[in-house]
Symmetry: C2
Subunit: 345 residues, 2 copies
DNA sequence: TTTAGCACTCAATAAGCACGAGTGCTAACA
DNA sequence: TGTTAGCACTCGTGCTTATTGAGTGCTAAA
């Protein structure tokens, strides 16, 4: 029992019908669409096969069929034809991203908004990982008698800061200046991972132990970089989800929003999607992502031209307009990758 | 028809009963509570009066009474006895706030979390306004051929950064260093409002026009400070609201979450509550806050010892445990005020 | 292999009914 | 004059019972 042309057509009709209406699709509806080439009974036979193969299911005996996760998966993998973006859509994306006086974080937040607005679903963005970012600049600002503020600027222009406690008396402004200069020169361009290693190595060197300035600089910077900042994501337009009947059930809604609030699962998913240069689609609550059952994520990574920095995506109900959302995510990811490349020389 | 002791008692019983159960309260329930001192009929008479005065209402003829916004207002203003915090609760608050190696933003985020966890409602925090913050430190980091990153550290240790475009060729690293030093010395301790004025004045001075360094420094800093950063709030534990039957209705829920997402109204409310040194309570969707109907906000400002910096609060359903939440908000606001005072010398 | 026909299922809707919680009103009572 | 008992009335809730109709599976004929 293979999938011939006709059963494919019927499967497609069921899925697209259900995406458009949100209702189960019956055999009559499909037969009508097919211009009297088939009777409802024929369609029913095919449907029975499709159900047996696990692509569709019926919520109850006397209802039509709805796609299963497997059905969506198959649809997305093999029969989806992605539309091109209209000129207007491309312009829209570009104009939103092209505010050049934004730092990366602000840009990404705007991208989240853009994705949410254009898709009418929820936009998500994984910001660049701290540990993968590159050292550009560090600066120490005294705060009080035993605390100072370390400000770190990454290669992407993202600013991270952390308060450091110093036990042995605060260095003078001048010493801090020098410590900063020293670090800025010797660590420039390294990833944080490398920075950590270099610092550890240098601290072992004999001469450092007797050079007060270097010792101070290294101690401070090791404090700055010793822990990873939490990975963070931006979630925009979560309330868009409330407009879809799929989440009319308060329980489903609650589950979804709690999952948004937890962030962890979403970070994992977005993190995974950095591995491929293609748009990735995660459907339903497969395996450990039960909290997202009923939802799909369309995501794509963004880069600085070479390495993956993070990823962006859209979360919507599983019956989402894949063909329209995919190109938006794709185009946006490529656009900001290009922008970041240019921006970071 | 005044409010004698008895009608006060009944009003209180209705409100507290409804807060505890979420259900309308009938005359029988109240009569029983009062140990046979009153018959249901008597209670009904009093209730009729209270209804006429607008303190309570009945959802429909054959249901009990529920408090109106006016009823809650009256309850909160005149008959609420706030409980003291237990030692354990105080310890809990302190231990959450006393992570000394946090900068103010991280502290405030944690406070939002704390408020949400302790109250089981939603915690909100208005972060210190940019324009009211004090100048502590500025720093310029070159990004590309025509853009540099300005990093500003406020008196509270909050870090703001902004990308500046420079048309006439990027200053050298040395020049940027000097410009920073000059600004750090001459602007230290001023509020941003003052800074703006001083910059404008200095730019007029004759000698500045010919001193390239000063001119550069002033131009850059004026770009940095020309626009206000958006006021921002932190909202934590919004999904806690989903656990209350008050928001079981999807429409009510949707309204509330959209209001959270908009932020604007909430910022306004929290901003207002900075004016008083007391805990403020806003009930229901009075006047223009229709989106928050059914909710109340308990808020208190925090200071650095002298000036108000922002405010913190808890949003819950109008039938919220005021007597338990008020002291939490109050104590937390005072605690972080003390901490910030100490921290900022 | 396709299709027409038919019996069957089941969600959704509406209608009817009993129940009970709660009310307002009146009249009796202290 | 304030309080209470009694009673009729209202209305939401929950239950049962039809009714409807969309959709199915199966069978037999084309």
């Amino acid at each position: 029992m293979g999938l011939n042309q006709r059963s494919l057509g019927i499967l497609e009709a069921i899925i697209e019908g259900h995406i458009a209406s949100g209702e189960p699709i019956g055999s009559r509806t499909i037969a009508k669409q097919h211009q009297e080439k088939m009777s409802p009974a024929t369609v029913r036979n095919v449907m029975a096969d499709l159900e047996e193969m696990g692509f569709i299911a019926s919520p109850h005996t006397s209802a039509g069929r709805i796609p299963t996760d497997k059905g969506y998966r198959f649809y997305v993998d093999t029969m989806l034809h992605v539309r091109d973006l209209s000129l207007k859509q491309r312009r829209n994306i570009e104009s939103h991203c092209n505010a050049v006086d934004l730092h990366v974080e602000a840009l990404l937040k705007r991208v989240g908004n853009l994705l949410s607005d254009m898709s009418c679903y929820t936009g998500v963005v994984l910001v660049p990982r701290f540990s993968a970012s590159r050292f550009r600049h560090i600066e120490f600002v005294p705060l009080s008698h035993n605390r100072l503020l370390a400000i770190f600027v990454s290669g992407t222009g993202a600013v991270q800061n952390k308060i450091l406690k110093v036990e042995e008396g605060l260095p003078s402004a001048d010493e801090l200046q020098h410590a900063g200069n020293y670090l800025n020169q010797s660590l420039h361009g390294m990833t944080i991972r490398q920075v950590r290693r270099v610092i550890a190595e240098k601290m072992q060197e004999e001469r450092v132990k007797y050079d007060r300035l270097m010792h101070q600089a290294l101690t401070l910077s090791s404090k700055m970089f010793d822990t990873d900042m939490d990975d963070d994501i931006i979630i925009e337009g979560a309330t868009n989800m409330l407009d879809y009947p799929d989440f009319a059930d308060p329980e489903a809604m609650k589950r979804l929003f709690k999952a948004f609030e937890k962030k962890k699962l979403l970070i994992e998913l977005l993190d995974m999607s950095q591995d491929s240069s293609e748009v990735q689609i995660y459907i339903g609550g497969q395996t450990r992502y039960q909290d997202f059952r009923g939802c799909s994520l369309i995501s794509a990574r963004y880069t600085n031209g070479e390495e993956a920095l993070g990823s962006i995506g859209v979360i919507g109900p599983s019956r989402m307009f894949y063909s329209q959302v995919i190109p938006v995510v794709d185009y946006t990811a490529r656009l900001i990758s290009r922008m970041l490349k240019r921006e970071l020389e």
